[in-house]
């Protein structure tokens, strides 16, 4: 266990050095959520009504959730690149812990997601978003975002070890992540969604993550009605439950995949 932590730390240190060497990657990753901020705050925002509150204030928590969910794909492309470059083979020939490469990767991607959230917070601040709740609540909200993205990184780790090339990652994830982050209360209140989409959005963990964060930041106006669905009423618990479930399921799978991956 100690050697596993030691090795994972070595791998995580390597990945963090890489972030500083290739800052361009950060730019491209935050550009998409920044576009969404501008698009929704200034283009669509005018026609979305948040009773008793401002849409921009409502929007930013959704952007945060979207950022960390998409940010987790960094884990997939990072691992896929390591497979392609032959680094995974190098690691697998070394007498190191079998789970350290993936554990180190998911850990270092928390740093990466923290950086994206800081940038998005500044962008949010610039368009008028504010933290209205207590500092403690805000810290809890940020931690929840990071933990959720950490758990999602394990799912993405499996994908990264399965795809034939790093380029496939973006296309493969987009198909899943786009509906996951849009059929939710990220950009509009879930009550406004029609028919079957409403219950899907209510049970979508991205919605509960967004709702929990929105509440902790104090971004919901006082006259917002209490949510009627169970997941949204227990948004914090439900989101944490999902995160833990994802780790429990996907961490062992990712470790097994790592042991089998490698170029011939």
């Amino acid at each position: 266990m100690i050697s596993m932590i030691r090795d994972a730390t070595t791998i995580a240190r390597r990945n963090v050095i890489r972030i500083s060497r290739v800052p361009e990657v950060m730019v491209f990753v935050v550009i998409q959520p920044l576009m969404f901020v501008l698009l929704f705050a200034y283009v669509f925002g005018g026609s979305i009504d948040i009773p008793g509150g401002s849409y921009r204030e409502f929007l930013i928590a959704g952007i945060f959730a979207q950022t960390v969910v998409f940010g987790a794909t960094f884990t997939a492309s990072g691992l896929a690149e390591d497979v392609q470059k032959g680094l995974i083979n190098r690691f697998r020939s070394l007498p190191m812990s079998r789970s350290a490469v993936v554990a180190g990767r998911t850990a270092s991607d928390v740093v990466y997601n923290l950086l994206s959230i800081i940038i998005m917070s500044l962008a949010g601040f610039a368009v008028g978003w504010r933290i209205r709740g207590s500092i403690l609540d805000a810290v809890v909200a940020y931690l929840l975002l990071l933990f959720f993205s950490y758990s999602f990184s394990w799912v993405m780790a499996c994908l990264g070890l399965l795809v034939p090339a790093p380029e496939v990652v973006n296309n493969a994830t987009f198909i899943v992540l786009f509906p996951l982050t849009f059929i939710a209360n990220t950009f509009v209140p879930s009550d406004s969604l029609p028919g079957i989409l409403k219950p899907i959005a209510e049970w979508n963990p991205v919605s509960t993550l967004t709702h929990a964060v929105r509440v902790r930041f104090g971004n919901l106006p006082a006259e917002t009605p209490e949510p009627t669905s169970w997941p949204l009423q227990n948004a914090m618990l439900y989101s944490l439950g999902w995160a833990i479930l994802l780790i429990v399921i996907f961490a062992p799978i990712a470790t097994r995949l790592y042991q089998r991956t490698g170029k011939r």
Binding site: D7, G86, L87, N89, S93
Partner: protein
């Protein structure tokens, strides 16, 4: 580099493999490969692309499990105790497996830590190797600014970092210019002198000739010939005399002229209008053949001596096989 690490294996054979087989779907990558490498020697695995060289190395370095057969590296079973094997080997791959965004020092330090060394020890060892490989000036630059040869040296340095008793080098010089290749060979020789056992795969006969004590030629996942470089050369001829002719119709006459000098199968190529003959005393044969060609008034485009290539080896070895099957 320190030779006093006491890391060397003392058993008779540092690598032993028996009946190794591996297939991917219908494709047979290895078909009952047998290997034994005496401790402290270099084995050259020679073969064309797809012969099974990399598959063999991948099994011996625990990257993939064989479908059948057994293998021991430094006395340890690769299937039963892969993690112990990993601490006894160094692997340098065909594709320089280094992180191009990290510096040379950072790459080697990371590998050292993953071998279980303490960070200061790993850093010290890394800087020793960087100095040995004459890369000190570039030690703190990301590898993406390095040439192919420099990257390959760092990759090799990674394999040497923990002074493992057995080294696996998968096509260590493919794609390198002659100078870089020579430099890498020097480093490998140095390690062998210090007692390290090396398994080397290559597509170049010259490389196996330069480095290997024993050579195993593999094709379609099987060993089709084995022996010292001298023994193999005797089989395939030391040198080749290539005669490019002006007229295709002269080929049979030329064949008759060169037959007395041939020490192996004569190869003719109608497309290139070429006659290629393995000869033992090159210069002598060249003089006599030239004289006879001019006496008989046969026009030639080009004539020259060259060292045998992998093509010649395969021509010779698979040629015999076909004859054996016919009889």
């Amino acid at each position: 580099m320190d030779n006093s690490s006491g890391n060397n294996y003392v058993g008779e054979f540092a690598v032993e493999a028996s009946g190794l087989s591996k297939h991917y779907g219908d494709v047979v990558a290895l078909d009952g490969l047998e290997l034994s490498v005496p401790t402290g020697t270099v084995l050259g695995l020679l073969g064309p692309n797809g012969a099974g060289k990399t598959t063999a190395v991948s099994i011996l370095t625990t990257l993939i499990a064989p479908d059948g057969g057994t293998a021991r590296v430094a006395g340890v079973d690769v299937i039963k105790e892969p993690q112990r094997v990993r601490s006894l080997i160094g692997l340098s791959g065909q594709y320089a497996a280094v992180d191009e965004h990290l510096t040379a020092t950072e790459n080697l330090e990371m590998i050292g830590c993953l071998y279980g060394m303490r960070r200061p020890a790993a850093r010290k060892k890394a800087s020793e190797l960087i100095e040995r490989f004459r890369l000190s000036d570039s030690a703190h630059r990301p590898l993406k600014t390095f040439s192919g040869g420099m990257r390959r040296r760092i990759d090799l340095a990674g394999a040497l970092l923990a002074d493992p008793p057995v080294l696996f080098l998968d096509e260590p010089t493919t794609g390198l210019d002659p100078r870089s290749r020579g430099e890498l060979w020097d480093v490998i020789r140095e390690r062998v002198e210090a007692g390290t056992t090396v398994v080397l795969t290559t597509q170049y006969l010259e490389e196996a000739d330069q480095l290997a004590h024993d050579i195993v030629v593999i094709d379609h996942g099987r060993a089709i010939a084995r022996g010292t470089s001298q023994e193999l050369k005797r089989r395939i001829g030391g040198e080749h005399l290539d005669i490019h002719l002006a007229l295709l119709t002269d080929i049979s006459r030329v064949e008759a002229i060169v037959r007395p000098f041939a020490i192996g199968a004569i190869r003719t190529d109608d497309q290139e209008v070429l006659v290629s003959i393995p000869v033992s005393k090159g210069i002598e044969a060249l003089g006599s053949v030239m004289a006879e060609l001019s006496v008989q008034n046969i026009e030639i485009v080009d004539i020259g001596l060259r060292r045998p290539t992998l093509d010649d080896v395969f021509m010779e070895l698979t040629g015999h096989k076909t004859q054996e099957e016919q009889t």
